[in-house]
């Protein structure tokens, strides 16, 4: 059995329905990709044009980053799909563990240097 694994397959083993689903999935991927590019451009515009004041630009960009992160994780890396419980659990624990560490470091590091 294992000896045949290296030969190419002649025909797709997927059913019509599965192929349709894959195509739909592809459309979603492309759309979300385009949307993320759009968000990136927005972020650039926010700083480059200097029309928006800094006090607003920073939270705005952070907000965009959060949206990007969710799109990236859920649409690009398939966390929204079925049977992705474990990857979800890992990414979420990563976020939960690193956020307080990062916030603490940002708040603490200015205080004492040596």
């Amino acid at each position: 059995m294992s000896d045949d694994l290296s030969k190419p397959f002649t025909k797709s083993s997927m059913s019509e329905e599965e192929i349709m689903k894959i195509n739909k999935e592809r459309k979603i991927q492309v759309t979300s990709f385009a949307f993320m590019i759009f968000l990136t451009i927005l972020a650039f515009i926010a700083v480059a044009t200097e029309t928006i004041e800094v006090g607003f630009a920073i939270p705005f960009i952070l907000l965009l980053a959060v949206v990007q992160f969710f799109l990236q994780m859920y649409y690009f890396m398939h966390l929204k799909d079925k049977d992705h419980g474990w990857p979800n659990a890992f990414i979420i624990s990563g976020v939960v563990l690193s956020t307080p560490a990062l916030i603490a470091l940002i708040l603490l590091l200015g205080v004492t240097k040596y």
């Binding site: 000896d3 890992f90 603490a104 603490l108 240097k113 040596y114």
Partner: protein
Amino acid sequence: MATATATKDKSVLWDWLTTVDHKKLAVLYLIAGTLFFVKAGMMALFMRIQLMSAENDFLTGQTFNELITMHGTIMLFLAATPLIFAFMNFVIPLQIGARDVAFPFVNALGFWIFFFGGLLLSVSWFFGGGPDAGWTAYVPLSSGEYADLGLDFYVLGLQVSGIGTLVSAINFIVTIINMRAPGMTMMRMPLFCWTGLVVSILIVFAFTPLAAGLALLMLDRIFGGQFFIPDMGGNAVLWQHIFWIFGHPEVYILVLPAFGIISEVIPAFSRKRLFGYTAMVFATLVIAFLGFMVWVHHMFTVGLGPITNSVFAIATMGIAVPTGIKIFNWLFTMWGGKITFNTAMLCASSFVPTFVLGGVTGVMLAMVPVDYLYHDTYFVVAHFHYIIIGGIVLGLLAGTYYWYPKMFGHKLNEKLGILMFWLFYIGFHMTFFIQHILGLIGMPRRVYTYLEGQGMETMNLVSSIGSFVMGAAILVLVINVVYSAFNSERITVNDPWDARTLEWSTPTPIPEYNFAQTPQVRSLDPWFYEKVHGDGTMKPAEPMTDIHMPNGSILPFVIGLGLFTWGFGMVMMNMENTIVPPFLVIGTGVILTFGSMLIRSIKEDHGYHIPLEQVKKIEKEVS
């Protein structure tokens, strides 16, 4: 190509160098870990000789610093971690009813990378002396200005061995999530598997900051970076943060598998199921989570301010709650059980009170105002040795005596075992209990001598004598291993302890495919369930067929060697005059490493099959 004899026509050495079998890798981990353990133990004895009397000059201060650094680094990274991995490797696939780990090749890779990383750290002795800035390598002590070549070996050796640890941890996660036998739900997994899973997750989240920190320190030391040099706008405290964000989870990485071993041994020899299984799993998860939220308790005296210190002090004390849950569950497991006090059980049950002592001093240290007194004294040394020796080492010893018959086909001698236990236990308390008091009267840690007439002579002498008793105990263990190998009765039954979990349903010795048919799991403690409610055999979950096995490979060894060469080349960049230019060595290492990866990627290797008749033959032989 599908021949069952694929492993038979190899020489013994080649077989061990190329093996991808989790049981053989476990033995390799066990041997490597023991060697490093003995090496670091000798260093400890040297240090105790030096401290035996006031103003002793057995060692110079410089040698003492090197010994203290290497002792700590080796014990944590190269002894405790691989010994834990040895048991995880051997036991976890068996306990979840799998034929091997998810990626046998990666498993071998993890071992060899770890091993060569350890070697890289160890060769520092031949190039002007070991690292000397403590296992924590605080800057500026560890910066290019103050520390020599030894620290480059520290940085690169740990970087390489850390990659091995990370790789193995990811492999364990995938194995535990995907390779469980039918019916082995998460909440039916033995506690050792649970702690193995949680620890692997901790490794993924904790060793990555360490790798980043080491990379920064390497940039500082070898490439003239300024991350940690305050004069140039760097930040010395940053290193402490990064190190302890890794360092505190690391101490739990070591102790949680010991918890797991204890949770296997205590029910087996109390003849009762583990009390409060769900609470135990929950407590493990809570400990893992809180372990990441407390790193500042190592930095209370840095001066981060009262609010920061209070927050982290409270978080630290919080860990005592889930730990307490575990302690009581072990006590209630033993309560009313039919307890057999053999060596494994002696180690496991005495683990509980010693660990409590270490936990209590931990909570004492977590109180910020008094930590200003305790910090950097022998009190801290006593605290973590109570946890590391009284916890982790006793757990590992319990695991050794418990799983030895499955691993090597015979038990360890009980008389010698009990002698070892008492020597070890008495020696341990003699060495470390008195160090609490030494710390309280103000003896600083990591200082190579002390003055006469400060009331420290007697206590230090007692401590040193204790350490020799402990050394004698380890000697008895070594004698026991050799003695039992020749004189102990061979085990032919599956289950010499009448235990509860799946690994005891396999024949001894275990065939290389573990289970001829994947077992069907019907309850927690599946093997015990079948013995009581079934006919004493595991129900198969699949018909008997050919068994697909992975081929051995030398590539993991070569990749490890490549990383070693690469790392050594990097260290050479700081050497005064080298015979060959460093770039040549780095290049060789890079080619070896990536060349092997390339070969692995383009050469197809689908493994081989053990044909059905062969499986039947082997099964008849072992039963």
